[in-house]
Subunit: 396 residues, 2 copies
């Protein structure tokens, strides 16, 4: 690692006032010349504003649209194993205040002072997504810090993140420490989930929906529950643990449904659990035609509007999901509609969802609006990165 004394200086272009505390800077905000272009991707530089005032130590990547990521307000800060251990220690302290068991998102990138780095913890296993070049080149130190500070025995490098390509990084995963021995058991909201950390979707399990799982589970007590886009059974298993009469999980992935089934069995709820491998847009009308109705319907689809270009089509898809889901809700039952689309803000998503519900001929009360759990903190300068929305409705 370069010593602070030999750290290159990179300067912001003029006219960027108010962006001094920003956690990152795009390439077009930065003075890029032959010297800076020669700085290797992932190097730490001393960042200055256009008037040469120091802004801090930043990670630089001349090949990325996000050219600079602020690491430390001290421009001379050593970004070494000790520094990584301090950042992880602070992130860990927040989770220790929030949770009783070591199952959570341990580091949520910029908001936890680790730009571009996601760490999900599953007991003794940490899954790292080093989605920025600075972290990729420091992976051994990151693994060491996670092992030392969090006490994990296995660190999985997940290189499946969509943004790695933009940083010039490959998609090759790795496992450090003790090898994985099948899916990991994850206790959450009284249920037991199984997360396939080697081959699973993203990091095998989504922690962000935890408070929404809990809220829905309460509403589902004594009711028939339908979990559409169920993945490994996030909503279904929490509902069964809380006392749902039954839960039907619909997903397109047989592998995910098999893990959901295993979770239901581990919770002693195998007899109340049913899985259906199907496309959600086919399954919902089919269930309607079969005369099936539910006291609680949850639709947690993939991001239909991941970016601005997909916004209008995405909103139409959310409206369609809402309409189809609403048709399956018993009178005075509940409908939970989720969106993890960055491009669709709460107002637009709510509007599309309520339009869909109205088209199904149902009147709605908004009982609750949930977001991502607190192990997904948000950077003070990036409040708009709160991407997850869960709309809890009661339908007359």
């Amino acid at each position: 690692m370069p010593q602070p004394t030999e750290r290159p200086v990179v300067r912001l272009r003029p006219g960027r006032r108010g962006r001094e505390r920003a956690p990152w800077h795009y390439a077009d905000e930065v003075v890029l010349d032959r010297r800076t272009r020669a700085i290797p991707a992932g190097a730490v530089v001393a960042l200055e504003d256009a008037e040469r005032r120091p802004l801090g130590a930043a990670a630089f990547n001349p090949g990325s649209k996000i050219a600079l990521r602020l690491l430390d307000p001290d421009p001379a800060a050593a970004i070494d194993a000790d520094w990584l251990a301090r950042q992880i220690g602070r992130a860990l302290a927040l989770r220790a205040a929030l949770f009783d068991a070591p199952f959570y998102r341990l580091a949520h990138a910029e908001a936890d002072g680790l730009p571009g780095v996601i760490v999900d913890r599953f007991g003794d296993v940490a899954v790292v997504q080093p989605n920025a070049a600075w972290a990729e080149v420091r992976l051994p130190a990151l693994v060491e810090a996670l092992t030392a500070v969090a006490g994990v025995t296995t660190v999985v490098k997940n290189a499946g993140g969509r943004t790695r390509g933009l940083e010039g990084l490959d998609a090759e995963g790795a496992v450090f420490g003790a090898p994985l021995d099948g899916p990991v058991e994850v206790p959450m909201n009284g249920a037991t989930y199984f997360a396939d950390l080697a081959g699973g979707q993203k990091t095998g399990l989504f922690y962000d929906q935890r408070p929404n799982h809990a809220f829905a589970a309460r509403l589902g007590r004594g009711r028939a529950v339908l979990d559409v886009f169920a993945h490994v059974g996030g909503f279904a298993l929490a509902a069964l643990a809380a006392g749902a009469a039954s839960a039907l999980a619909v997903d397109g992935s047989a592998a995910a449904l098999a893990l959901a089934e295993r979770g239901a069995a581990a919770g002693g709820a195998a007899e109340r659990f049913e899985a259906r491998k199907a496309d959600a847009f086919d399954a919902m009308p089919a269930l309607g035609a079969e005369g099936r109705r539910f006291g609680l319907v949850v639709c947690d689809p993939p991001a239909f509007a991941p970016n601005k270009a997909a916004l209008e089509a995405g909103l139409r898809a959310y409206e369609r999901v809402a309409r189809m889901g609403a048709a399956l809700v018993e009178p005075d039952g509940f409908l939970v509609l989720c969106s993890c689309s960055h491009a669709a803000d709460l107002a637009r998503f709510r509007e599309a969802s309520l339009r869909g519900v109205a088209r199904a001929g149902r009147a709605a009360q908004i009982v609750h609006v949930g977001g991502a759990g607190p192990d997904h903190p948000v950077h003070a300068e990036l409040p708009e990165t709160a991407y997850l929305k869960a709309l809890f409705l009661r339908l007359a």
Copy 2:
């Protein structure tokens, strides 16, 4: 009560397309002539749009800015004791799904199909705020329905609502059924609160902060907690119940603090509880000067920006509270900032709060953003009435 057959017709003015499903209509949206002006305040009318299409049965008040409040999509629906019992029954069913004990907001006005009517329930006691003329003239039927459906033995009429004057209603309270015998004991989040339903602020206790009390209480475990604008100890007592090392409640009302003290004693936490009667803006700098620091500071002030005219001054007050509160937070401690201002939306409130925190020289992570509890549902056509914001920050 007028029979449907003799129900007068009131019509919307042209050009109000898209407002057909609105829960209320302002006087300037309505055709007002000598005939309609003669309809008594609180009468039920058959509402039609400008093209004479029926929109439903509505409560009419020619003397109010809100001239019409939609009661039922059926223009001939009898708005009688049975109708009230059905509305209350539906509201009750939602709370039964949400809570194990009968302590909650039982009816939240438009969102529960009871326009202008607030009902808070404290076990056997219901506190009704009939803030619209239609409910005021039907109070005996409302009391009867509450008694029959919810099984309460006492109904308190609270006529202190600010909006009653706009409806031409007086401020005279009343008690129906069994008389009140001192403050009522309210179990919530593991703590015991005391609510003075006869003389207390608003309805004696705010249920809307319940989930935020719970979230803060978890963060306060093992920490010294400061509850500023504490009222009857909402945050302080929940924190003590969850295991806070200590809690200091600051409020300007000695009566409220006495109830908080009583709650702390009832929870066996009298020795960890301290109360200070003071103005918050004096108390916070004073605590700083005394060298007091806290692991969790909560500031839940009254609405500084209740309306648009008060917005700018209100935001400055929120910024000041944030700055003063942040100065009292230990390194890596938590700051919770609340706003119940309708005029300040989340974005403006968050901006003012984070500016205040930055002025105190502290860096913040946004850990969680909370709203009002689910016993405060929101009408699908009025999503902007979600007024309560609670910002949970960790400060480096």
